[in-house]
């Protein structure tokens, strides 16, 4: 049991240690472009993990996830620029996002599987269009705030959020709530028959997931100097989270970290040559993963290490379904 536990934590531990090491980067290099890339990566980790909670662990493919990221950004920004401290503003953003998440969940959890997915996609679009109509002006920080803008503060805040999100998913993996979420994902009727309160579990999952998305949105508002309020509501954020989570390994604590590293670096590398090429590559990769390798990079790594550990048995194992 102890050995099994240790193996279970190996991936997440490596992820947290790697992220922790990123904390040294601002001390070693002062290059702003690297720090900005770091913030984008850490935000991607946190957003993907927030989606991972509802979809990877609880199996509810929420395609309206950007709405909660956007709500967090909206509330945080409004409060922060009118004088509230950023910590309090982000907490309020997370609370509003979670409240909206529970409200959506109460209605949409009547829907199963793909119907939940398209229903939440529609809700996300409703919110995006409405916000775009009501707040069409670009949101820019006041001059005084820009003068005092320190990138390292954003970097460390994003780092803390990313590490926190990995820890939350790791803890969920072995907690009663997390096990309940996975039971609901595998077979909701069977889970309910075994005494798991499916609706309660799903509501707690969506509350946690949307609160984390709201916090990430808050950080987005803290990081960016100017953007259109509608932008964080764009379905692109949902798509990013879906791609990163699936490519890394849905339902695992370290998969999204791996996926985000892969995604952000590739996107950065390709953007120089050809804008949006990453979507061509990652869209194709995503399809292949759904069809051939549902566990993503994490599963690929496990298969590879198993094969390396037992060269004879590896071939036999891969012959199975």
């Amino acid at each position: 049991m102890k050995v099994a536990r240790r193996a279970e934590f190996r991936g997440p531990t490596a992820a947290v240690v790697t992220l922790g090491a990123l904390g040294l980067v601002p001390l070693l290099v002062g290059r702003e472009d690297l720090l900005n890339l770091g913030v984008v990566f850490l935000l991607t980790v946190a957003l993907a993990q927030s989606w991972n909670v509802i979809a990877g662990l609880a199996g509810q493919v929420n395609l309206g996830h950007a709405a909660f990221f956007g709500l967090g950004a909206l509330v945080t920004r409004e409060l922060w620029v009118t004088g509230t401290s950023i910590g309090l503003a982000m907490a309020a953003g997370a609370a509003v996002a979670a409240a909206a998440g529970v409200a959506v969940g109460l209605a949409a959890f009547r829907l199963r599987g793909a119907y939940f997915a398209i229903g939440t996609l529609a809700l996300g679009e409703i919110l995006r269009i409405s916000v775009g109509n009501v707040l069409s002006e670009i949101s820019t920080l006041p001059a005084a705030t820009i003068a005092g803008y320190r990138l390292t503060a954003r970097y460390y805040a994003a780092l803390a959020l990313a590490v926190g999100s990995v820890l939350i998913v790791t803890a969920l993996g072995v907690s009663r709530l997390g096990l309940g979420m996975q039971a609901v994902r595998e077979d909701e009727a069977a889970a309910a028959a075994s005494g798991v309160g499916a609706l309660g579990v799903k509501l707690r999952a969506v509350a946690l997931s949307t609160a984390l998305a709201g916090l990430t949105g808050g950080l987005f508002a803290y990081y960016h100097i100017s953007y259109y309020p509608q932008h964080p509501f764009s379905p692109v954020w949902t798509f990013d989270a879906v791609l990163v989570t699936f490519i890394g390994g849905a339902g695992t604590a370290h998969g999204p970290v791996l996926g985000a590293a892969f995604y952000v670096l590739f996107k950065e590398y390709l953007a120089v040559r050809w804008v949006d090429a990453h979507l061509l590559i990652f869209g194709t990769l995503f399809v292949l993963i759904v069809l051939l390798l549902p566990g993503g990079l994490v599963e690929a790594g496990q298969r590879l290490s198993r094969r390396l550990a037992r060269p004879g048995a590896g071939a036999a194992a891969s012959a199975g379904p």
Binding site: A114, Y115, A122, L123, G132, N133, P235, D276, L280, V287
Partner: protein, 290 residues
């Protein structure tokens, strides 16, 4: 009053395209239990094919349509062979969920390819009759859009006739009803799936060609059209293409009415809200089984 009627008329004309866009999705979903969320991207591809044929070869867009349908149908065959053929091996619930994910990846890929090939600009096919209108009891009817509605209706009618009377059409309906029973009757289920998928993508291509005549296309229109088609499918239910077409007209009218009531920027919202409410009303899904 005239403004109201004029807006409703334009909504009705657009609604015909919603109906045609939804027909392909409905056919594929109803028969294969595959929810292809890249349907809007297939419409976009059809639009660009028509644009190419019209501007490159100088074909009339309605003539180009005749080439676009078989081309997109062949694209459908390829997509079925490469992707969706793997999905239909699963049970119904997994099928829908996996097809949604596969379609999502496909949508991103097609969108990125289209940006690469055609740039992100909006385009529409210039025609001699662009801007020409006929008067109808004081209302102004754009000729191109009216012709589009007629073509959409004709295509729906032909497909309906094929499904109702044709030998393979009946096989497709039998497979949609119960594929195992159809298999036991000696129907080639795989071929029926392939055929239904190809017809569905062909209809998407046709819808795209019509969109590029009366309206405009860009690589980004995919998601919007997928949503329109999904809304209509959910409103109209599965099983009747004529019903789907009527559902499209209703959505077009509802959008026009809401644009008049709440202002243009909100015209999309009413359809999405309707969609969500109807979905909630049938939580077991569209196949009518618990």
């Amino acid at each position: 009053m005239r403004v109201l009627l004029q807006q409703l008329l334009l909504g009705l004309l657009l609604g015909g395209l919603y109906g045609l866009a939804a027909a392909g999705l409905s056919l594929i979903f109803g028969v294969l239990k595959v929810l292809n969320v890249a349907h809007g991207e297939l419409i976009m591809v059809g639009g660009y094919l028509a644009f190419w044929l019209a501007t490159g070869l100088g074909l009339d867009p309605f003539l180009a349509l005749l080439a676009v349908i078989p081309l997109t149908a062949v694209l459908g065959l390829a997509l079925y062979g490469a992707l969706f053929g793997f999905v239909v091996r699963f049970d119904e619930e997994t099928r829908i969920k996996n097809s949604l994910l596969v379609g999502f990846g496909l949508a991103l890929t097609l969108h990125a390819l289209a940006v690469r090939a055609f740039t992100a600009d909006e385009r529409s096919i210039p025609t001699a009759y662009w801007g020409q209108t006929v008067a109808l009891g004081g209302l102004v009817v754009p000729v191109g859009r009216l012709a589009s509605l007629a073509v959409a209706l004709a295509l729906i009618g032909l497909t309906h006739l094929f499904l109702a009377r044709g030998r393979w059409g009946q096989a497709i309906r039998a497979v949609a009803e119960d594929w195992e029973a159809a298999l036991l009757q000696g129907i080639d289920v795989r071929r029926a799936y392939l055929l239904a998928f190809a017809i569905g993508t062909g209809l998407a291509g046709a819808a795209g060609a019509l969109v590029s005549v009366g309206y405009s296309i860009s690589p980004a229109i995919g998601l919007e059209w997928t949503l329109k088609a999904l809304i209509v499918v959910v409103l109209a239910g599965l099983g009747s293409l004529v019903g789907t077409f009527v559902g499209g007209l209703v959505l077009g009218l509802a959008e026009a009415a809401s644009a008049l009531t709440f202002g243009g920027p909100y015209r999309e919202v009413v359809g999405l809200l309707l969609f969500f409410c109807v979905l909630l009303g049938r939580p077991q899904g569209l196949f009518g089984r618990a």
